[in-house]
Symmetry: C2
Subunit: 321 residues, 2 copies
């Protein structure tokens, strides 16, 4: 993994992925006690940053391999990213999703032409199901984060952050990234290392799924004790990635974690002051920016809102809070 | 009013106003039966396009005049735009707002340093209250739409639409604009006339407040029979503007109107598929794009979402629909 790979992904994504703006509100600055910018990847195609990595990986395949079809396993955002990327290339996509994924994500994936195969968490592993399908149908598996082309695609979000920070004369900031397997975190960290070295990434996670924070603290990959059941479905991975963790261990500052109540509050504040829809897993970094002042150092924080694919009932719950 | 005035406003707004992106979703295309792009001015500073015109007008004043303070009357979005523009220049702003304006807008205006004076619709006119205050305190009144510098500022949204259409090789489209007094409509129409003549503006209004559509059809300025009570508070003006109407009569296609139920549905679809918050008055153009297919001609429609300042209860109502 290097900056050239991210730049190459950016070239392939030009005119395809959306360059999301950098948003802010004096109301949020007042809550945080510092300057807060938000990178709203919920506005990306398919409603999350995952489209960047999915398209980067699908577009990197040799055409004859791509034509046989793509396989992915995902709780929903990578699923939609892969389904849309495959649709744009006119090739099949088979997506293995957990049965408890939000309905909006399952329907969204199907509506984008994805063939959805549901599995039960705790039963046969999605990896085993995927391996069998890949073999029988000649599909190419694109992993959600432990895949260099995917990390390169997510890194294009970091290139944009570097440019947008420079436009505002920001040369020192903490960049809070919603962290599951660590693909977005690693991609952004690599891009910033090369293009904006004064900007340091801090991974953000839900309190009950803080494997990356504990892994960064201990120096070795730690697991979550729970596998499911959290509010933040998008980022409930069992453990940091094999490829992503060494990158994040080298480049990131300490992890931050927030409660579900803080996540819901951040979702409501994003609706009210930024006019964007954040899903729970997409709101952890903003929640950390707003409610973990004591753990932050820089005068300026840039928080990713990594996705906005949330069922109406959860959104209504955030609004009612 | 001419394109040079809009270009001059764009120069003053550079680095101050946000360049909002152009969003889209295959799901919305499928509903509309054509390609739909959305210009989300809800993502603009203060949550609506009004910041453009407010800042353009405040920045055009001679410094010694500006220093005495600004006066505005507004149901809420112009109020917040003026309050924020005055705050950025460090000068006072007095805003006359109707007592039935959404709480979010009254509070938002106060939080931006605006001094709010409430009046009752149907009682003493806001114009009379404004004239008295302007005289006694030396304030400069900035009208919400019948003011050339305000129209020029709103026109910068049209310059962006022209550029963003060109980037996508769109040389023919209908541009649906949420229309109250007609300032945004006129500004965009003037910008497109000069920079993208194949793009034609169509004003969109609520059914019960379709003064512009009737005025365009008859060729003379018509009034609404109701003055208040509609869902779409942002665009409940009694009649098209004196300055804006001749511009819109020369440049716009026929007006479109939509029901409150369609507005709520468009708000829900914007939340779900674009991840943006549209307020009722800001969703009329999108509602027309989605539900007035028979009245549209072009293969491509660009709908403004002009604002997102909506109380949580109304947003919850849209979500529950």
């Amino acid at each position: 993994m290097n900056i050239e790979k991210i730049e190459a992904a950016a070239t392939r994504l030009k005119g395809i992925a959306r360059r999301t703006p950098l948003l802010s509100s004096p109301h949020l600055d007042a809550i945080a006690g510092r300057r807060v910018f938000v990178k709203p990847e919920c506005l990306q195609h398919t409603g999350s940053f995952k489209f960047r990595g999915a398209y980067a990986a699908v577009s990197a395949l040799p055409p004859e391999v791509r034509a046989r079809g793509i396989l992915a396993y995902s709780s929903g955002n990578h699923a939609q990213g892969i389904a849309r990327a495959a649709q744009l290339f006119g090739v099949p996509a088979v997506i293995i999703m957990p049965q408890d994924a939000p309905a909006a994500k399952i329907e969204g994936t199907k509506a984008l032409g994805g063939e959805v195969v549901l599995y039960t968490r705790g039963g046969e592993s999605r990896e085993a199901i995927g391996a069998r399908l890949a073999e029988t149908r000649g599909l190419t598996l694109i992993r959600p984060y432990d895949e260099p082309e995917v990390i390169a695609g997510q890194g294009t979000c970091g290139l944009e952050i570097a440019e947008q920070a420079a436009e505002r004369d920001i040369d020192r900031a903490e960049v809070l990234v919603c962290c599951g397997g660590g693909g977005l975190t690693a991609g952004i960290a690599l891009a910033l290392e090369a293009r904006a070295p004064g900007l340091r990434v801090r991974p953000a996670e839900p309190e009950a799924f803080d494997d990356t924070a504990r892994s960064l603290a201990s120096g070795t990959r730690q697991s979550n004790t729970q596998e499911a059941g959290g509010l933040c479905d998008a980022i409930l991975t069992p453990t940091p990635g094999e490829i992503t963790f060494p990158i994040n261990a080298r480049l990131c500052g300490p992890g931050l974690s927030v409660s579900d109540a803080e996540v819901l509050q951040a979702m409501a504040l994003a609706l009210r002051h930024l006019k964007i829809v954040a899903e729970p897993g997409g709101a952890v970094a903003l929640a950390a920016a707003l409610f973990r002042s004591e753990a932050l150092e820089a005068d300026t924080v840039i928080a990713t809102v990594s996705g906005g694919n949330v069922d109406a009932a959860v959104l209504a719950r955030a609004l009612a809070g």
